[in-house]
Amino acid sequence: MQNEFEKQVQKKLEELKLHPSAPVWQNIKKEIAPGKDRKRILFWLLLGAVVTTAGFYLLEMTPAAKMVSANKQGFSPARHPGTNTIVKPQPAPTRRTGDTTDRVVLPAAPARNSTGAWQHTAVTKERLSTDVSVSTMPPPEVQNFGALNTRRKADDPPIGIPARKASSAEDASGKNRTGNSVHPKPAEAAPQPGDSATTLLADSAIAVRKVQDELLEQDSLATPAGQRKTRKLIAVIHASIGRSKLASGLALFDKNFADYFSAPGSSSGFPPSNGLPPAGAKPGLSFGAGLSVKKTLNRHLSFSGGLDYNFYSTRISTGQRIWNDTVITSGYGSVPLRSYYQNTNATGHSYANKFHFISLPLRLEYKISDRIPLSITAGISLQQLVSTNALIYHSTGQFYYQDKKAFQKSQLFSEFGISYGCRRFSLGPSLQYGLTKTMRQGNGNKHLFTAGLKAGFVLNK
């Protein structure tokens, strides 16, 4: 209870006016200026750039893109002078019984049309007798083997259209062996009504030849080796599950470590404490998932970067939640609260401190040997805390409360793992350790630590 002296002191000191110097406001203005968010904006821009780049690489390696690039290079078998084109053996012509004799009339020598393109003409059949019969002999695809033994020149007629050659049944005068005149051949230019099946076969064969010609034309442009481009960028999705806890520095398994979050205590207007020390936190569930792009550096070494989501948690025991609008003061300054949790020293409700991170990992993978698909992975990841509900223990007031601003938003983690690969899958243990302290400031050297299993699946091997 204050007496007169204290009242005098208060009244007198209310008259005290002191003016701070000008640089004080300048410094405050700099701190509260929007530029402070620049770091956060830069982080998300970097994140977006990484995701976009990874997306482009993935699109580049899709099967559709592969096919387009293969067509551009011109897929065709290697051609060397002196080899013959493989010719599908033609079935032997069938003849109708009787006195009819069919004669295959080879198409006239191909000629260029007005546009300069080669004209394909259909192979027709001429009946030497009065009987009408239809030959089932398909038009020959190749007649002149000799022409194939020389390298085809650009000006040569398309292969498959043989040069017109007088058959044995026909002499230069146009008469056949029997001396009969060869009927005029309007059908040489146009198919006869009775020869529709032959015409269809001929047309389809010509269409096939056209495609082959185009491919053969591109043959000169084909890569000499005709090899497929080896893939150097591999997309991998991975997931992990394990347990996470707080570690004091590098003492990962110190049982005596008081692994709870605490703030330098000061309190104002809070009920007196019950004298119970807080219960230590227990390990909680952790899991993660992500996508990374791996680049092979050499036979043993590869490098990968990507985008991950990581979840860590620890479990504590708290007492009843008290709803009470108040302001507390601690080492982090004044914190207004809507509620807080009592401390009951492990006899209360279980509460999970959850941490959600988005991370950008960079990893080096070393394949131990070619025979055994065992790899060692080491790396670092920059992780951004996007959300947390973790409770902080107020050591003086002895209660738990939430203050998201007390935690480090950007944290650096180290990673280490071993994986065994089988075809596209890999599996093995994995560890992650937070190199940055979990809390911005406060007592204790607390780092998040997780250990578990990690599985990977290669998307585009």
Partner: protein, 184 residues
Amino acid sequence: MDDQRLVKECLKGKAAAQKQLYDRFAVPMMAVCYRYTKSVADAEDVLQEGFIKVYRYLEQYKSQGELGAWIRRIMVTTAINFLKKNARYQSEMVFSETQLHAVPATNPQIRLEAKELADLIRQLSPGYQTIFNLYAVEGYSHPEIGSMLGIKEGTSRSQYARARALLTQWIEQENQPKNVVYAK
């Protein structure tokens, strides 16, 4: 502009409102910081850090009492944290368990100027100075002081009694007329 509107404008990020908030409270808060520290430079450091926290936590104000009182509480806690972290004050911010002192019954009249009184308070050791400021000036109770500083209530009472005794002694000395020697 009243406090509510001023806070809203500051939360919108308007520089003029932020400056107005600073201009309104900087002078009295500087006096608060001055009483807790040993130098003007330290007082300005505390003031700067305190106002940064004010702007940072302004969205959580929610009209909980007067804006001035809310800012003052932030300044006090900032000052205490500054004393705890600063190497110059750390060694003297140890509150040992001393023999209980009775609060002196004297209530001397304070005829000093405000600044002179503040300077007398600043002559106390940091521990006494802090507890005296918290109890006599800010109006915190000894249990509250104990939880703020991490000490027992009894230690807070004892330390305050000692601080008050010293201060009243100095005030009484200042109140005594100066001996003037007249030349014969």
